[in-house]
Every structure is written in structure tokens, then in C-alpha cells.
Symmetry: C2
Subunit: 396 residues, 2 copies
């Protein structure tokens, strides 16, 4: 065992997880496609989709579940990449015996198009120029992301999904899945999500985009050969982080505690722990995320409006089969995607007589709760999946 | 009458205001002082304080009220500056017959130290170098601001105040006034305020500061001879503006309406009206505000903790005389300075047996409500002032 692995195992135990429930080491795979027609009318060609799978596809290919990631997520939902101490973004929920039990289900997660973690995005090489697309990459929408995922499923030979599930933007994709491909999806779990962004959600995203685009290093998006717009991207991420937490969680986590000092510094370096946290989050993010992708994905979020092409949200769900099942979840302290937005989805589903369970989890973690509240989410999701599985008559 | 004045009168009528209730044309005055010892231990010398007054000081100098402004406010609380169409920041509340009735009260408002509207601040000339202070200006606190105001009152020959009143940071100064100078103040009206910033309030301020300080044009604060850090300041202001509104008011004001287009632009120029609003607010702000002052004032806000030197908030109010009166106001949709923060103040006042009225106004305007909800605020404040006036036995 290499020293690196030993370090990793140590970190791993500190996290209090058991080896038995992890999917262990995983690798990202890549699928190539010729082209994709986008909502904008433009064509993206060619197209790479990065994805990971966990568990085994059963013989009749009927135990597949698609996980959908949020703004800063990627295809790496669970397990560990060789040499990395940190597991995938939803590792607490995905593994043997976990909510998404890889002993029973075949899990798939792909990086959205427009992303920067292996799927085609603004940082990819434009074959017509041999240079990164930058802003020449076409603007993509949530339906475009879902169309790309559909191509991936066909590539994997999967015609039917037990469920589509995700938090935040992942929930929007899940909802888009049932509307775009109602015949493919048996059930849907949108968590801490919405059918369309409110003006406040758009506003926070726009401030983040402005922070990036006003950074002189952004250079109209063509920064790949130069210094990157890290200052703008860090500020965008800091804004995001404040909105992902809650007043209560910040009181608990930071209070007004000072950082490495007993009294105020009377200057503009760091005074409070919360400032140090934001600075750290901003800087870490610039090392792992592409500023242009931040623009593309936030724009896709803001454009998303499930009612838009259907008149009303009730109409949008009209073609969903009567046997489809929904589990809509929200968190009490999530003020970025407040529970009322999840209830709007529930009302529209009920308006179509669809089978929908709404669960509002009491949590102080704000929007971040879907990434951290493992016990309560596990309890509800496990049961929901078992019933869905049973109704479908699927044998793992 | 000059053409300029005619334009102004026209705008004036468009605003739907009546000439009778305005204080009319006003001018900012300036008072000079030798020095001020600050909380940091540093001395600011010399010191200019910009101020305005409305109404007449009565013979026994007993009808004075001090208004205290918020982050982006200034000494110009009411009336019109010659050639300007826009009245002072609290004109809806101050004038003949208005809540702060200038037929009865002598109103004073001064720009806080550290400001950029006439009082000494980072953009002022440092006499020791002949250049703007920039970050060589000492960090000031809310108690420092109040000490400077006390010097101004002495300069004006005023020993007693009927009330101190203000919203947001103005409310913090009002609270500091009764704690620092309990013998001077007969009553206090803190509105949409807090006795100390929560970590979330600190976090939003810190992101704004980071946006400014990461702008290359900021140059460590020494930008006065060069291009100013307008990009950073605009982003800071946009963040602020989102926090000043509410989910409901943004739904009402913008919804998801597009700006000058029927369909999405599929690019990163403006799509939504809310984006256009933010861009406008950001850019207007850079023309009227100094980026370094934004740093200084937000830092003063974050440092403010009325309980800090007293152990608890209840202890902080211990020397307030029993006859002092308090009117604490909050707004239902204000999530930046939520009503629970006002209730904390009320509890501590009641804990000292003090006379305190708490009014929570139902409003969709969020934190901005204190600047726009004239009817409800007027009703409550007018009555409060009349009773206070009556108890003091003051004749206008």
C-alpha cells in the first residue's frame, strides 16, 4: 500500500465512515457522441460525457438509477478516486447498504454538459479552432443536459430508470427528465429544488456572473492561455456559500468568533472565523472549477422554467404516466430553495392526480442540507425506492 | 426661476409629493474639530463633520432630534439640494407635518466619520502627506461615529435630544447613543436594526469587501489618482441590493420578466429585468460612493456589538434612566435584519424595566422597508414622539 493510500485511509476513518458501506475506488468513464441539437438551435458537435457507475446492472437492465448533480458537482457521486482523500459529492447516500444501495441498484451519474469535469464545456477544445471554446461554446439549458444524459443511457443500453434523483439543480434535471421522457422514468426524487428560479435566485446568480465577468482576467472568456479570473470566481463562490448556509447554521458554526486573535484587528485582514471560512471556500473553488462553466451552469439554472413550454406547471406534468411516483423533499432552513418552491411542485403533481409524497426535513443546514443530512434522507429515500422497486416487480 | 429649477419642480410633482410637506431647499454644513480619540487607540486629527438641520431649534434648545443614516446614506436626510431632483434619503419621514415634523422639531443629521459625503473618511486629505488617507485612515467603529456626533451637538449648543432615530446602521448608532450618553437622550427609535451583526450579516459584508479588494484597480486602497475599483464596488452593491429586498418584493417587482426581449438571448448579456436592475444599481452607486468608505463602514457594522464591553445586552442598558422611552421597529419580510434581532433588543430593554414599544410592520419590502414604508412608520413614530414630547414638557 502506498503512503498516499495510507493517508487516505486515515482521513477516511476520521470521517467516521465504515469501509463496508463505501463503493470503494472508482474511476470516471467517458462516452463520445457525434452531436446534440440544443434548445438555442445550435448544435454541439462532437460531445463527450463523463460518467461513473456504481453497483451492477441486472440481467434485464431494470435496476438503473440516475443521479443528477448540482452546480458545482460532477460525475463523481460516490467512492474514492485513487489518491484522493475526499469521496464523491453524495457518498453519504450511495454505497452498499446506503440509501441508494449499490447491492441492489445500478447507479449512474454524469457530469452535465457545459461542465468542467470531463463533459464537453466551455473549457473543452473546439475542433474547428484547436483552442478552448470559451464563450463560443453554445449556451446550454437543463433540457439540453437531460437530452445528453438520455444519449448516455442509450449508449449504456438502458431503456428504463427506477428513479431519477438529485438536489438543487439535480432536482431540476430530475423534474425535466419526467417531463421530457415520461415513459423512461418510473419515479423521481427532486430535493431542495424548484421548477423555476425566483428573481432572487436569478439575482444571486447574476451577481456571481458579474463578479467573474468584471474580473479583468476574464478577458471575455478567453483566459485559458493566461491567468484565470480567480478573484471573480472566488467572490462568486463566496456569495454562493453564504446562500447555501442558514442564519442558524452560521450561528452554530461560526458565531462571532474571531480568527487567530483575541481582539479586533482594526484593519481589513480577517477578523472573524466566518470570513476565514469564506476566503478558504472561494480559493479552494478556483483550483477545481472553471469560471466559464460557472457562467454556463448558472445561466442554465436561471433559464430553467418547467412551465414555460406548457403554459402551467400542471400542464407540464400532463403526460406523466399515472403509475409514476414522486418523492419531493425540502429542508426547513433552506432559504435559497425554500420549501414553498417544493410545495409548488407537489401541488402541480397532485393536480394531475399523481402519486407524490412531500417530506420537509427539519434541519439547520440550509440549502447544503441535501449534501449533509444523511440519516433523515436515507430513511425516507430507502423506503421510497423499496416500494418503487416492489411495484415495478424488479429483482436485483 | 432657472431652467434647472423648473426641471426639478416637474420631477417633484411626478413623485406625487406636495410642496407643503417638504423642507424645500437645503444645504450641507460643515463643522471642524481638532481631534477624536478612536476605539482603536488611534487619533483622528483634524476632523470634519458634514451635517444638515431642518426646522428651528426652540429657545430652550429642547426640541432637537438626531437622525442617523445607514450604510450608503449621508447628512442629506430631507429636502432638496439645489439642482438635484432626488430628495434626501428619509424625505418621506421628515418635513412639515411629516413623522419628524419640522414645524415642531429641530432635526439634525450628520454624515458618519469614515464616510464619503463630507465627513472625514478614507478619501479625505491626510494633512501629514497632502494626499488622500486611503487605508491610512484609522478604522472607525459605531461608538466612534457616535462620539463624533456628540462633538457636533456640543458645537451646535445642544445638550439634550428628544430622540435618536435611524434604520439599519442608523439604529445601531441610536442604540449606542443611549448606552454611551444615557443622560443626553430622552428616547430612542432603532428600526430594522440589531445590537450586533450575525455571522450571516458579517459574511455578506465580507463578500462585498472581497469584491472591492480583489479588484486590481483597488491598489491596496491607493486608487484616488487612478481609475477607481468600480467593478468591485458595483458587485458589492449588487450583493447588498439583493439582501435589501425580499423574495416577495422581487416577485412583485420583477418576476421572471425578460428585459427588452421576447425570448432568452442564449448569451451572457442581460436576460431578466432583475439583472438589469442590479446592473443599474451597481453602476449608479460607483458614481456616488467611495469604495474605501464601503470597506470602513461595513467593518464598523461588523465590529459593532453592544454587549461586548458589558458582558450582556441587559447589562449594556443598565445606566439608561428609567424615564427613557424606546420604540423598536422591524419589518416582517426583512431577512437581512430579521425581526428576531429587534426582539433581542426589546427583551434586554424589558430586562431593565425600561419603557419599550415593539412594532413589527407587515411589509413585503424587506430591509428596504424602513426607507419606503412611510404611512405605517409615520403613524407609529408620530404618536411616539408626541408622547415623548408631552412627557418632557417641551413646547416647540
Amino acid at each position: 500500500m502506498s503512503p498516499l493510500k495510507e493517508t487516505w485511509l486515515s482521513d477516511y476513518h476520521i470521517d467516521g465512515q465504515t469501509f463496508e458501506s463505501s463503493v470503494g475506488f472508482v474511476e470516471t468513464c467517458y462516452a463520445e457522441f457525434d452531436s446534440l441539437l440544443l434548445d438555442s438551435g445550435l448544435v454541439l458537435a462532437p460531445l463527450t460525457i463523463a460518467y461513473e457507475t456504481y453497483g451492477e446492472l441486472n440481467e434485464d437492465r431494470s435496476n438503473a438509477i440516475l443521479l443528477l448533480h448540482a452546480l458545482s458537482g460532477d460525475a463523481h457521486a460516490a467512492g474514492y478516486h485513487n489518491g484522493h482523500a475526499k469521496p464523491g459529492w453524495w457518498d453519504i447516500m450511495v454505497g452498499p447498504g446506503r440509501a441508494f444501495d449499490t447491492n441492489r441498484y445500478f447507479m449512474i451519474c454524469s457530469n452535465v454538459i457545459g461542465g468542467c469535469k470531463g463533459s464537453s464545456g466551455p473549457g473543452s477544445i473546439d475542433p474547428s479552432t484547436g483552442k478552448p471554446y470559451a464563450l463560443r461554446f453554445p449556451v446550454v439549458t437543463v433540457p439540453d443536459m437531460v437530452r445528453a444524459q438520455r444519449m448516455l443511457l442509450e449508449h449504456l443500453g438502458i431503456e428504463r430508470l427506477v428513479t431519477v434523483a438529485g438536489g438543487s439543480m439535480g432536482g431540476m434535471q430530475a423534474l425535466e427528465w419526467v417531463v421530457s421522457y415520461p415513459e423512461v422514468v418510473a419515479s423521481c426524487i427532486p430535493i431542495a429544488s424548484t421548477y423555476r428560479h425566483s428573481p432572487m435566485q436569478i439575482a444571486f446568480n447574476e451577481v456571481g456572473r458579474q463578479a467573474i465577468m468584471r474580473d479583468p482576467n476574464w478577458r471575455g472568456g478567453d483566459y485559458y492561455a493566461y491567468e484565470h479570473p480567480d478573484a471573480g470566481l472566488a467572490v462568486a463562490r463566496m456569495i454562493g456559500h453564504v446562500t447555501y448556509l442558514s442564519d442558524e447554521s452560521m450561528h452554530l458554526k461560526f458565531g462571532r468568533r474571531l480568527r487567530d486573535k483575541e481582539v479586533y484587528g482594526y484593519d481589513f485582514t480577517l477578523d472573524f472565523e466566518v470570513e476565514s471560512y469564506l476566503k478558504y471556500q472561494g480559493e479552494v473553488f478556483t483550483r477545481r472549477f472553471d469560471a466559464n462553466t460557472y457562467l454556463y451552469i448558472t445561466k442554465a439554472l436561471d433559464y430553467f422554467d418547467l412551465a414555460n413550454n406548457h403554459g402551467t406547471l400542471v400542464e407540464a406534468f400532463r403526460d406523466v404516466p399515472a403509475e409514476a411516483r414522486f418523492l419531493v423533499m425540502a429542508f426547513s432552513s433552506d432559504w435559497l430553495y425554500p420549501p414553498y418552491q417544493s410545495k409548488e411542485i407537489v401541488r402541480a403533481l397532485k393536480g394531475n392526480g399523481l402519486d407524490c409524497t412531500y417530506v420537509e426535513i427539519h434541519s439547520s443546514f440550509g440549502h447544503d442540507a441535501f449534501l449533509v443530512e444523511s440519516d433523515q434522507q436515507t430513511h425516507v429515500i430507502r423506503h421510497f425506492l423499496e416500494v418503487t422497486f416492489h411495484r415495478l416487480g424488479v429483482r436485483p
